[in-house]
Subunit: 279 residues, 4 copies
Amino acid sequence: MTGEDRPVYPTALGASSLESITLLGTDLARDVMGQVGFGELAFWLATQRRPSRGETRVFEAVLAALADHGFTPTAIVTRLTWLSAPDSVQGALAAGLLGGGSRFLGVTEDCGRFLHDVLTSVEGGLPTDDAGWDALALETVTAQRAARRFVPGLGHHVHKQGDPRTPRLFQIAAEEGLSGPHLSLFAAIGRAHPQVLGRTLPLNGAGVCGAALADLGLPLELLRGFALLARTAGLIGQLAEELRHPVADEVFLSVDLNNRSVAPDPYVPDPLPAPDPAP
Amino acid sequence: MTGEDRPVYPTALGASSLESITLLGTDLARDVMGQVGFGELAFWLATQRRPSRGETRVFEAVLAALADHGFTPTAIVTRLTWLSAPDSVQGALAAGLLGGGSRFLGVTEDCGRFLHDVLTSVEGGLPTDDAGWDALALETVTAQRAARRFVPGLGHHVHKQGDPRTPRLFQIAAEEGLSGPHLSLFAAIGRAHPQVLGRTLPLNGAGVCGAALADLGLPLELLRGFALLARTAGLIGQLAEELRHPVADEVFLSVDLNNRSVAPDPYVPDPLPAPDPAP
Amino acid sequence: MTGEDRPVYPTALGASSLESITLLGTDLARDVMGQVGFGELAFWLATQRRPSRGETRVFEAVLAALADHGFTPTAIVTRLTWLSAPDSVQGALAAGLLGGGSRFLGVTEDCGRFLHDVLTSVEGGLPTDDAGWDALALETVTAQRAARRFVPGLGHHVHKQGDPRTPRLFQIAAEEGLSGPHLSLFAAIGRAHPQVLGRTLPLNGAGVCGAALADLGLPLELLRGFALLARTAGLIGQLAEELRHPVADEVFLSVDLNNRSVAPDPYVPDPLPAPDPAP
Amino acid sequence: MTGEDRPVYPTALGASSLESITLLGTDLARDVMGQVGFGELAFWLATQRRPSRGETRVFEAVLAALADHGFTPTAIVTRLTWLSAPDSVQGALAAGLLGGGSRFLGVTEDCGRFLHDVLTSVEGGLPTDDAGWDALALETVTAQRAARRFVPGLGHHVHKQGDPRTPRLFQIAAEEGLSGPHLSLFAAIGRAHPQVLGRTLPLNGAGVCGAALADLGLPLELLRGFALLARTAGLIGQLAEELRHPVADEVFLSVDLNNRSVAPDPYVPDPLPAPDPAP
């Protein structure tokens, strides 16, 4: 509040005056347009610091890994919404993004946060060699198993023998000198888990992306947001394809024409304990 | 799957043939239109059983309690979105509903689920008198406090001496003979909590709505959905008012004109433990 | 703005003080909860006047007619979004509503607006008998045909011999003495169009709903909003059914497993005229 | 449909098998990740052809120009929705994008489409020099004025003496040899309109972005989509700033605490002509 008791809203993002536009304290027209790539800009907007060339490369590799996975629920939803409301591209994209929750796009954030929680709770300092990381990973997977919880980033329903994105992202991060503790722990989980779980699961692409984003120092609360940014580009691709090679109407009809009308099944809530008249 | 290995999708909801339309196994035109109120229909759709007159009255009282709370974030969001995209009423309503999450509209669901969890875990049968309910409530509030968790439905930032919706909904449910275990426990929490917390908080309207919906036997997973249904009516009211007495542009300008451009503040992630070279 | 140059936002909707909550100038707890049905309240919120019993009955008949039409794109979208992001009921409902655009839910609004535009442009007063309405309808359909535009509300892809909702809504409106000029013109279009179009099309349910809402004096800009309100109840029904008898995963897989990877088809924009060097 | 009458859904986008993932016919891990920038990828997804380095630069300049404009309604909406539902980043981003309609983000698409419509209707070939473009622009602005329609892309409420993004984007497109007919016509409109309108308006940034995107050969139906992609990055920036320097609660309170409760104002629809008993 100012002296006049009016709220004032500070921001370092876009600002404009009669003659100029700044973004993050930089002259938008002169120093951003034509100079800054879109991935670089997205990183900059999220952290208010301009990333290095290597950070941008890792970040854009993550975005590429997450941009489109074919006919996911989010892609189908965007196409169906456009079919139903062709006047609103924003509605079709928004509807698709709303599927970016815990199940389909959330693994990236879950994995980054999980690794981070493990790392911050390490006592006595982080490991400095593979043996140390393996020991930490073993302890981590064992604790998850004891608590009957999944290890985020472990397992894939298609790429059962290995998700090709995972070694590639490790490689790119290493090339850029940006393989940090989150990726180290994630890799060690890949080595250590069979000993605990009794079978070998792949480290999936969504998980390694979360580890890489966490190593880049991006805000953990927004890791899902980067998956959604990547997916926005993918969903535009889905709409562009739908524009020329439509499938949404056939998807809709394949459901609607195969519906089978059944009798109502009245809902009965879970039973509660019976009253106990003699306390 | 059928013999031909095609999926078939069963549903008891809307179905139509060349000559008729059924909804929940009932002839829509003849037996629903003109015969079934909208609240009654919403209940029926959610449970696949037609509610009694009393159930409908309690349900509609809940919807009334939650329909509009003035300039909440959801109302502001709907108005601003319509300002920005006046061509899409569906976008404005959807944007408003997206604020119906854990903080502003979630209490109803949280409270209903919380009470249900307590009730299902009672051993030896539910209480049959106020003394029994008070004992259960005391135990419940004590356990929440020990776990440093809030009791959902307790407290209100405005109605510090009592939310007028709460006694009214208790009364309506009692009039209809629909005051069940969830409402009984919620009332007892209202009586018992000062003994544990050392101060008296009101039972809020969102909470009592959750208790009442749970006593009506509605699906707990969708209690938030009913709050959103109520709010949809409220948001249409907000748009109808915005149409004739607009405020969104002034809200927007009150923020935009009071922005203050500040220098970027580079994000620094939480520190991790230092590497420990000597394991 | 007040004297202190601070914006003030007037509203007649929800307001609360320490001790009371009002809605539309009425005591919410005492005079709305338990007294006002949900359809009635929605009408009141949208018009800031309490509807009569007959108005409420017609309005609720419209909402019933539009609540659920089975496996429409909006229903499929809501189910798929919940599959993908089960943590967010609000996201699933919002995604479904976003399909409420020009094609699937827009007919109600389009028809109400179209009829209204015709009526307001009539010169010399509205007709007072069927012959007069028929003449106006004939003129209207002829003009639409000449402009190669559809008549909103005419035709249905399933109910080719008549949509059962249409005569029923005419009947209910007549019973309540609420059959006004919009319904009269719509009925006349049903009688007159074969003479112009050379074939008989049914008056569809979405269209008659738009006519009835317009006759109720509801804001034309928000007619789509009422269709969305009705649909919100239907989408909750879809989620409630999905909760116990899920189909979304099978819908998703029926698309994903039947995808066929094809080569990219580079987009080529529409050609422009060639440059003309000799103007 | 196949011989077995099952639908098959062709796509050139993401596809995966047990061992590989392809995107647009390319090996995702090997040939996209680490090799393709995010702007480049978004272009590729939308057109199914890989853009040249120059095309990517122009495209990314457009995205930079549109990413964030400070406290726009979309930014406020995203922050308020996150305040209200902090559990759903996807909901906050989707809500913000829903403001990307005709008024705030639509100019880009409107301008691109408008220019394209003019160009395709030119008879006798496109101009080859400035004089030719000026003549076409003069004719275009004159026709719009006669039809009482705005010229999309002309005018700005802040940058009244020139939007700094406009000359910069012309420059970048020229540097890359990608200044095509849409940009040429848009520039000519900037020169010719004062003669018709009697005053000089700036060519705005949203408009020049639409012209540049159209010259890049991107699908006109999706130009709004690229503005939304840019804005997604901006909205993540808004959330990242809100995370550390929150303003949403104060925005909400500045409205809610300055509400003024007024009496209901019953809605009265537009009057219709009176009935005319003597036709």
